[in-house]
């Protein structure tokens, strides 16, 4: 079920009313309803893959309990490895099997040994990369004795399958989210209203900005061979907005939906395109994944300066590979590691902590130039992320760095592009205005008269309905 669908618009109020009326009587009922609703939500896409979630839940719940009883370090490690093996095994099979098979055959062919292999027809279960990492965080934290394993199977099932963040995050830590399932939630008016506001802003980002950018970006990337450099740059910039609004829009809807049910999910994006260097960008982009890698991979790898270089490459390559089984994602990861390393090695990676122009209305010229520089580097890396394969990416880059860069960009539907430009300008202003908050609409207009504020919300909702692009799947569903 997609967040931007009529199905979800019907599903959400039904679950909401049942949750706060029938299930409100007891914690167990609340959790049980959330599990049932989450299974319906997931089964709407494909019920057969529900078994994977159930199996993953059973494995990690059992291993968690066994870890509690086990003092022998070796046996504890074996239990942890069993959880990692099962969870990453599913991920490896469904996501990476064909990639390894194809590259294996290609490597053999390169050395003259002709091999024939047929790619397996494997469907990638939606959200597998997200819930796998979430359950892994539970087992690892229990193993590290940072978290007491739960005896409450329903609460644990709700934690793994909670529909608001099941298929595309934020990837929550068990230490943060699981305790919320232990306490009966009570309806909080301000929390619910804030949730609705965040859902509205998420819908605007996804349906209006991302889906409209997608139409132009797809057209440009799919016909890149016939287009001049400036048009390709435009395509890359539009894709940058598309992917940001698509994913952060999804996260906003997920966080807002969770708030309607009394949960606080972690912030996943914090205005990353206003970053002044790449280190800041990575503290603001897909925060739940970046911090997951930091806590469960980077810090355990530890080490000296030379180890830091190795570890940075490992983190970024794994992060790229997490996104998909394609060399383009790996190159995207390597590129980001190259951007990041100079800052890390010179000790400047934590120089910029607060948001840009925290106490001013506008950035200084220096800040603006730094933002533009960081954005340019990011856009360049997105070309690899979006391209079909490496030759496609290199073709686009060579076309960009040619004399045709100085020709005027060509877009097929000038009027639609004009509308999109206006929407993008509004979006950037609104995001800039709200950069100190959790999301751009959080405190916007709260001091205005209610009728004006409601008028603004209604207008935004109408724009979502009338100016939304052709419905596109969320990009991160494929990861």
């Amino acid at each position: 079920m997609l967040f931007n669908s009529i199905d979800f618009a019907i599903f959400l109020p039904i679950v909401f009313i049942l949750y706060w009326s029938v299930a409100n009587k007891a914690l167990e009922l609340q959790n049980l309803l959330l599990v049932a609703a989450s299974f319906v939500f997931y089964a709407w896409w494909d019920w057969s893959f529900l078994s994977l979630i159930v199996f993953s839940t059973l494995v990690d719940y059992t291993i968690g309990l066994k870890l509690k009883l086990e003092d022998n370090q070796f046996r504890r490690k074996v239990l942890l490895l069993a959880s990692i093996f099962v969870n990453l095994g599913f991920l490896a099979f469904f996501k990476y099997c064909n990639f390894f098979l194809d590259n294996f055959v290609a490597a053999f062919s390169f050395f003259g040994a002709a091999m024939e292999a047929t790619s397996l027809k494997i469907i990638l279960p939606v959200g597998i990369s997200f819930y796998t990492f979430q359950t892994l965080s539970y087992t690892i934290d229990v193993y590290r004795k940072k978290l007491e394993p739960t005896n409450d199977f329903i609460a644990f099932s709700a934690f793994v399958s909670f529909f608001s963040q099941l298929v595309a995050g934020p990837i929550e830590r068990a230490t943060r989210l699981l305790p919320q399932f232990y306490q009966r939630r009570r309806f909080n008016y301000s929390q619910a209203v804030d949730g609705m506001r965040q859902i509205l802003w998420g819908l605007f980002k996804k349906v209006v900005i991302a889906d409209n950018c997608a139409e132009f970006a797809n057209q440009i990337f799919n016909n890149s061979a016939d287009l001049n450099g400036s048009t390709l740059v435009l395509g890359a910039v539009l894709f940058s907005f598309q992917i940001y609004c698509d994913f952060s829009g999804y996260s906003d809807i997920a966080i807002g939906t969770a708030r309607l049910f009394g949960f606080d999910l972690m912030k996943n994006f914090s205005f990353p395109y206003f970053s002044r260097d790449i280190a800041e960008f990575w503290r603001r982009w897909h925060i739940s994944l970046s911090t997951w890698f930091r806590d469960y991979l980077y810090i355990p790898l530890g080490g000296s300066i030379s180890m830091k270089i190795r570890n940075t490459f490992i983190i970024f390559i794994v992060s790229g590979f997490w996104h998909g089984a394609n060399w383009t994602f790996i190159v995207w990861g390597v590129l980001n590691a190259i951007y990041f390393l100079p800052l890390l090695l010179s000790g400047r990676n934590r120089n910029i902590i607060t948001i840009v122009a925290a106490h001013q209305r506008l950035p200084t010229l220096k800040e603006l130039l730094l933002i533009l520089k960081t954005f340019t580097f990011t856009v360049f890396a997105w070309i690899f992320f979006r391209a079909e394969n490496l030759p496609h990416a290199f073709d686009i880059i060579s076309a960009i760095f040619s004399y045709r860069l100085f020709e005027a960009p060509k877009v097929s539907n000038a009027f639609d592009f004009f509308i999109l430009t206006i929407l993008l300008i509004y979006f950037i202003i609104q995001e800039w205005n709200g950069r100190r908050w959790n999301y751009a609409l959080e405190k916007f207009g709260l001091k205005w008269h209610r009728s004006i504020r409601w008028g603004l919300y209604l207008l935004l909702f109408i724009i979502v309905c009338l100016l939304g692009g052709n419905k596109q799947d969320f990009i991160y569903f494929q990861f």
């Binding site: 009529i6 509308i419 409601w454 209604l458 109408i462």
Partner: protein, 297 residues
């Protein structure tokens, strides 16, 4: 909780009210909507010719000119409509009005149309009798794309100044045709032969003894066929469904690349006049108002 639900319901109420306002605005300003309402409420029409098709026919066939030359006509075509929609519209017209036309002209463009498309035009679907109502029928969801047309009218004088005459939508705006002729283009007769809804329209016309002429509408240079397709009857048994090709190098010589187009193979008012004059001479040769006289030029 109660307060939250009350406010949510109020918000939804305001949204639904906005939908009704949007629908009223569309009914007053959108060409397709206005035409649809017009076509359903004609006062005892006395038309000899009915034009059906999509925007190519809606813009490109001047029914006023046909009427002035002895063929009382009405242009029923709608922008973006499928052949299935054309069938529904024609069926409605024939059921609704007592006086049946003698000839139906179906204007199509094989270079632009998807002949297999099964969807019904949202405006036609919305205004059909006995339709099923669902959440998707909210005007702001159903007629989303028309909002951009409304905005175009706001910003573009040419769009504001377009007019509806005898069902034809006339634009005076001129967008040059900068495309080039393609010497490999042949007439795609198989696409016509394999389109099921064309045969449904032929059958419908035959049931009412109406002659059906199917016209491949002129398009931009890149779409034109190097050689005119010799016309043919798609239904030889009933002697109906005469297919004429006006989108070829020689027939399209009448058009001025700079002045007769409004973009994407659509003719403006000047181009439509030329196209209709050409069509008129063929209609006169065939004498379409006399029964069973269809034959090739």
């Amino acid at each position: 909780m109660i307060l939250f639900i009350k406010k949510t319901i109020l918000f939804l109420f305001l949204f639904i009210a906005s939908n009704f306002i949007y629908l009223i605005i569309l009914q007053k300003t959108d060409w397709n909507y206005k035409k649809r309402i017009d076509a359903l409420t004609l006062d005892a029409p006395d038309n000899d010719i009915i034009v059906i098709g999509n925007s190519l026919a809606m813009d490109g066939i001047d029914t006023e000119l046909l009427s002035q030359n002895g063929y009382q006509s009405y242009n029923l075509s709608l922008g973006g409509s499928s052949l299935r929609t054309n069938y529904i519209q024609l069926n409605e017209y024939l059921t609704l009005y007592e006086k049946k036309p003698k000839c139906v002209i179906l204007g199509l463009g094989s270079y632009l149309n998807d002949f297999e498309k099964e969807t019904i035009h949202p405006i036609v679907e919305y205004t059909q009798k006995d339709r099923e109502v669902s959440f998707r029928d909210l005007p702001m969801l159903k007629f989303r794309w028309l909002f951009k047309e409304l905005l175009k009218k706001l910003v573009s004088k040419a769009h504001r100044e377009a007019s509806l005459k005898y069902g034809q939508l006339r634009f005076k705006k001129q967008v040059p045709d900068n495309t080039a002729l393609d010497h490999n283009n042949d007439f795609p007769i198989d696409r016509y032969k394999s389109a099921p809804f064309i045969y449904d329209i032929i059958d419908l016309c035959s049931d009412y003894d109406i002659e059906l002429i199917i016209v491949e509408m002129p398009g931009l240079k890149k779409t034109r066929h190097k050689k005119r397709f010799n016309c043919m009857l798609l239904d030889e048994v009933n002697n109906n469904g005469l297919l004429l090709d006006y989108n070829n190098f020689s027939d399209c010589e009448i058009f001025d690349d700079q002045k007769d187009w409004i973009g994407d193979s659509h003719l403006n008012a000047y181009g439509a006049k030329k196209m209709t004059t050409r069509l008129l001479s063929d209609l006169q040769k065939m004498d379409v108002t006399a029964p069973q006289r269809l034959k090739c030029r």
